[in-house]
Subunit: 645 residues, 2 copies
Amino acid sequence: MEKETFTVTFFHPQPTKVKVTKGKDLLSSAIEAGVFINSSCGGDGVCGRCKVIIKKGKYKTEPSGRISPEEREKGVVLACQTIVLSDLEVEVPPTSRLDLGQVSEEDLKLLRLKGIYSSPVDIDKGKDLIKKDLFIHSPLATKLYLELPPPTLSDTVSDLERLYREIRKIKDIPIMQTGLTNIKKLGRLLRESEWKVTVLLGKRNGTVEIVSIEPGDTTDKNYGVAVDIGTTTVSAQLVNLNNREILATKATHNTQASFGSDVITRIIYASEGGGLEKLHHAVIDNINGLISELTRQAQIALTDINGVVCAGNTTMIHLLLRVDPTFIRREPYVSTANFVPVIRAAEAGIKINPRGLLLCVPGVSTYVGGDITAGVLACGLNRKEELSMLIDIGTNGEIVLGNKEWLISCSASAGPAFEGSGVKCGMRATKGAIQRVEIIDKDEVRVFTIGEVRPKGICGSGYIDCLAELFRKGIIDRTGKFKDINSKRVREGSEGKEFILVFKEEYDLPEDIVITETDIENLKRSKGAIYSAGFTLLKKLSLSFKDIKEFFIAGGFGTYLDIDKAITIGLLPDLERERFTFVGNSSLVGAREILLSYQAKKEAESIAKKMTYLELSTEPGYMDEYVSSLFFPHTELERFPSLIK
Amino acid sequence: MEKETFTVTFFHPQPTKVKVTKGKDLLSSAIEAGVFINSSCGGDGVCGRCKVIIKKGKYKTEPSGRISPEEREKGVVLACQTIVLSDLEVEVPPTSRLDLGQVSEEDLKLLRLKGIYSSPVDIDKGKDLIKKDLFIHSPLATKLYLELPPPTLSDTVSDLERLYREIRKIKDIPIMQTGLTNIKKLGRLLRESEWKVTVLLGKRNGTVEIVSIEPGDTTDKNYGVAVDIGTTTVSAQLVNLNNREILATKATHNTQASFGSDVITRIIYASEGGGLEKLHHAVIDNINGLISELTRQAQIALTDINGVVCAGNTTMIHLLLRVDPTFIRREPYVSTANFVPVIRAAEAGIKINPRGLLLCVPGVSTYVGGDITAGVLACGLNRKEELSMLIDIGTNGEIVLGNKEWLISCSASAGPAFEGSGVKCGMRATKGAIQRVEIIDKDEVRVFTIGEVRPKGICGSGYIDCLAELFRKGIIDRTGKFKDINSKRVREGSEGKEFILVFKEEYDLPEDIVITETDIENLKRSKGAIYSAGFTLLKKLSLSFKDIKEFFIAGGFGTYLDIDKAITIGLLPDLERERFTFVGNSSLVGAREILLSYQAKKEAESIAKKMTYLELSTEPGYMDEYVSSLFFPHTELERFPSLIK
């Protein structure tokens, strides 16, 4: 018997209709409709982020503590907990909308995606991490123009061997391969182009492939794209493979967030029927969208893109390739592949030159992916005489320590708080996010937003500031609890005490912007996880933070990260501030270098092979150290001497 | 406006119907209907082999000298010269039918396909060309059973690297590759099979590929097929890749013959719209048919065939791969590829393990293909201290001369006479072909047929005997003309004088079996082309036939080739008969060795690279030598001293 079908109309605010069968949940219906709704828990009804308002129609919903009685009255439900029983009209409030529009050029600057390392202007200023001539220019895909000697009765070598012969006159290539597709069209192509052709050579797993052959000289058209697949943001940069020129950079939200905000939720989703397929298509759509935008902006043909390099954490790379990530979260937490062979981009669904190549930056382990390898490459940890440390603050906080001799990494479950998730008024570091906070006194607060617009929520760097200021001004104690003080900004909320940063009346907001005691607890756990991870890693090697010459701080913060305040809350160790550099998206920089240089690719491989991984969960002492760090700044105050002053 | 369509019914003798548009020619209609009709000239109306009888309906036909007035009265037309103007009923007489049935086991023996080199029994007798342990056993596809150590918290290397690590414990493989298809299923496969898997490793162009991965131990199922793609016959042999055992051998007619009997006609056909496609499908159907027969006979699964090696002349390999052969026949006669990379068999349309490999034996030049390379490998010319010569008698007569130091080849346009084509009563060396002739005197003749059945026509070895006998008995003179003698067997035919070998009344045949003066002229040109090619090649190197220690004679003769008579007519030089060995299908033997041994493959490559090619058409002296050889046995009788006696 066929199930009844109903029409669900989502207003977000444009109406979008979708036909669904009776009993389907609203979150799935929204995804089918292409309406992307926030969701952190992957549909478990826990995160309370997928609130929608039913305007009309019959439904059934599970009761949830996330919905207040006033909200319930207004028809607010959790989309994931609500099933369709008739035609429905559903409003998606702004707070639940996942903004999937392209990030604006301005935002990009803010996001530091074209930051100090990527923009040619900044490179001129000598601010780039990677010097232009550090790696030998030898891109993933190279073009070679050849004028072949036409065959004669005394030189009757076949077309293919003639081509090989000519290429080998110029390049020393022991193993050369090509596919039947090229061979099939070779005879006619060579003759119709009067023996003048351009071959596209691709580097594939220790061999060189003739990727494609074009008539005439097309060597000037050879582009590539570097991609950083973040759990939250996907960033891409278009480069000219001939001369390293950066032509454009774009970013977009990772649509996968709609299926769960963190990696674990997505792995669970992927393990269910059709889930892997959906997550794969989500990120592929993101990448194709970015590439298509980039080519439009640079006015080049999509088919002149001959290579793509993707860096991402291990799960993101699995999902990119449609490889089942199920086993990543089952003990002993093993991925299917950390070193993925170079394949044709089309095999993954990426729309460039149909024969163009896709290289995934090799990862170290399940929890330390190619994004970290690329980051290490970009920061040059592996080339430095003295010890340095890369701290990538994200849902998984990854830490790498080392020098030119050795590299060791670890990964800490920091939670999504610094990415603006799992905290009451948290948001990603985009326009409208409070990224800087000054507390003048317990009643007076100044906030600064990204883009200097009306505040919408708080991002990671805003929370760091906020915590540091609350602590410095004595509003919270060392455990993160509100002191018993009298302030118009401190009140009892639904989740315990909270501090109001912005009153809704100030900017005509739907609600006050607050930081709750629960938020502070979450943030404390995040900062504690990262600090104690770094500490434990060093201790394991009989080292301490002061032995580190340079710290590179990467992560999805805004334009601004106040190192001093990060130290105040105990996220970073208390050392001379000059030792710290905020590097933004080092993964994208590394991916670009790999795209442009085989030497950089080999170096990335050597980084990934050389890097050892310390599993913290089984490391004795880590839990104690973690618990000790659940104070501001730390149980052992003497570790933060500059704060005592 | 749409064209009218008509139904053509072919009786061959079963009725087969096909719908065709008005004006379509009957030969194309027959091919579309799957009715295969003889045709040598590819539809030019020249060969007169595609005679059919119109029983009913309207048609238009071009007048042809190939149709006698009596035939015309009966409704006989050339299919290629006749267009359809209404529904038609067409009878395909036996003489025009291309018998596409499988060659029987008996025929196979006759055809020497399982002859002295291929049958295990014969190998035991020490008769095989290639000793069992000559080449290191190292087949195109190898299976390896692995029991992987399952990952633990202290050994978290990824699934793919775990697999690589385990393989490298057993085999030293510097460059290992695998496709996304395998990676996608790897995680689940390893766990569901409890880390016990069989990997199929394939050798691809200097690297090793993990072709596929199966759960459990399947190492006992690993088969391969060697194929010789002859212009006339396609032969295939099924072997166990683990232990070299030959499981079955089959042959079938090359269906391409229906589109033209020789290589040049097929190249022309391929250059026309859709022609390449049809020729490609014809040979692929043949190969798939053979493989399917072989697997049925050996009772193994088609998908357990993991590798195929094909040897064939350069044009056959182009058509196999659907590579346009057009430029092979345009000056300076260059092929698209002589060294074809190893590809997946499925790419060419061969139905085995979908990821199984196809290797084409490398060729030397446009006119000396992989079949000759394989033949040289099988006969071991390249391993011998002393000089030897391989003479492959076919439409193109290929000759290779050399020893372990050097190899030189040439190719002579011998024409199809020795393959039974272009001669009045010629046929291929199959059942019913006269392969041995004894002329007792001018009136009494004894003929012996393949399979000892009623004679149907004459094959190459029959013609050699016939010529030698006619010459010895003084019935023809040294130029090949009939002497003025009185015999019931010599008469004036439609094409001049002819000699009757078999009167139709003897066996109730539709027509007498004869050899005409035109046939003799054709055969004389064929034998002259081959002899003079060998002579010229030797002369170029200041050598002569007597410097050759061993001659290997290959070609599509029957069970029988009378070396003495081949010398009598001047096809082979007049030397001690012990120097000659008739080797049958040496190409298939070579292909099989390459399938079984990477060392043999490397040796084949070195043969193809080392072998130089002498282009006879531009060689001064060749034409003179050719003209001198257009006598029986030769203008210079002193070259054949044993005949003078």
